[in-house]
């Protein structure tokens, strides 16, 4: 999971794109994960447990859960992973360039 996301962030570093995490680990564990996995993108910290306020507001029942949101703030894809996630992001970038 992390290597794929790292490479996506790396590949699109000059594009209007970010991964935004919502992390549900206890603080110490989360900090350790950031360090060990070289996580460069920002994350909300959701209170240290699953079922935190952000996860609740977004009706998240399973982890990981992924939403892809376009530049205007509209939800465009749900639970796309791996290659599908890359394709979704690329499609949205292309759409932006076309406008």
């Amino acid at each position: 999971m992390y290597p794929h996301e790292r490479s996506l962030v790396e590949r699109l570093k000059d594009k209007p794109f970010t991964i935004l995490g919502v992390n549900s680990d206890p603080a110490e564990k989360y900090k350790k994960a950031i360090k060990e996995n070289n996580i460069t993108w920002p994350s909300f910290w959701d209170g240290g447990k699953t079922g935190g306020p952000i996860a609740k507001a977004w009706a998240v029942r399973g982890w990981p859960t992924i939403y892809v949101i376009d530049a205007k703030g509209v939800i465009r894809y749900k639970n796309t992973r791996g290659k599908a996630m890359d394709e979704a992001v690329d499609a949205l970038l292309k759409e932006m360039e076309g406008e």
């Binding site: 935004l20 992924i66 939800i75």
Partner: protein, 247 residues
């Protein structure tokens, strides 16, 4: 002569009643014994397992678990012969509880529909059916919703129907209709002390708000160091919002 006939009839009737009561009690005893034997075997295993070192417990439990198949076969046979007996409901309830509803044959559902639809114990059986997706189970749940006079059983059946549909996108509309019915008619229905109708409604509404094509709700939160962050800070960028954890 007349009096004698009456007496004979009376004696015969009494004998019949006694005989019926005897059979009834015998059935109940047989069922109780079968259940008690199997439950005792499980309890004995649990005791042995608990005496083992922790890392061996799971394997020992799985290996030694006394499969309930024989008990289920025996109980099913009794229910088939005595579908109306109150103890048959107990037998069905036990079988269903041990198999999440999967061990119930079509005849068991027929017995429930014909003889136990208005029993106050019915909701226990209904609630154990959340993994039972056979046609008979589905039809049975629909019958309980439609015809049972026990409100608790009706609520349970609607709840189980909803649970079975929850993750099926094809049945999203049907699911929504059931949640609405639960809210309208069974707002006080509880599962493990929680009023489920309102909870399910909140989930439905949240999901609609979060559908593809809808504006992403604002998130105002903090990073792990306490710095404030907002989702709208990233407007103008494509955002992969990733609910994650390291486990």
């Amino acid at each position: 002569m007349k009096a004698k006939t009456l007496l004979v009839m009376l004696v015969a009737a009494t004998r019949l009643t006694v005989a019926q009561t005897d059979t009834k009690n015998k059935v109940a005893d047989q069922i109780s014994e079968l259940i008690a034997t199997q439950d005792a075997a499980v309890a004995k295993l649990m005791e042995e397992v608990r005496a083992l070192p922790r890392e061996q417990q799971r394997e020992a439990y799985q290996k030694g678990y006394p499969q309930p198949k024989d008990t289920i076969d025996a109980l099913s046979a009794i229910v088939r012969k005595n579908p109306a007996n109150e103890a048959s409901l107990k037998a069905i309830s036990w079988m269903s509880g041990r198999s999440r509803g999967r061990a119930l044959s079509p005849e068991m559902f027929a017995a429930l529909e014909e003889h136990h639809l208005n029993s106050s114990e019915l909701s226990t059986v209904v609630l154990s059916l959340y993994s039972a997706n056979s046609e008979e189970a589905q039809a049975f749940l629909a019958t309980v919703v439609e015809k049972s006079e026990v409100k608790e059983a009706q609520g349970s059946a609607l709840y189980v129907q909803a649970m079975q549909m929850e993750r099926d996108p094809v049945k999203a509309e049907e699911y929504k209709a059931i949640v609405e019915k639960l809210n309208a008619e069974h707002a006080d229905f509880e599962v493990r002390g929680r009023k489920v109708a309102a909870m399910m409604k909140a989930t439905v509404e949240a999901k609609e708000k979060l559908a593809i094509g809808k504006p992403a709700p604002e998130i105002i939160g903090k990073d792990v160091d306490g710095n404030e962050m907002k989702l709208s800070d990233y407007k103008g960028k494509i955002v992969v919002l990733d609910f994650w954890g390291d486990w």
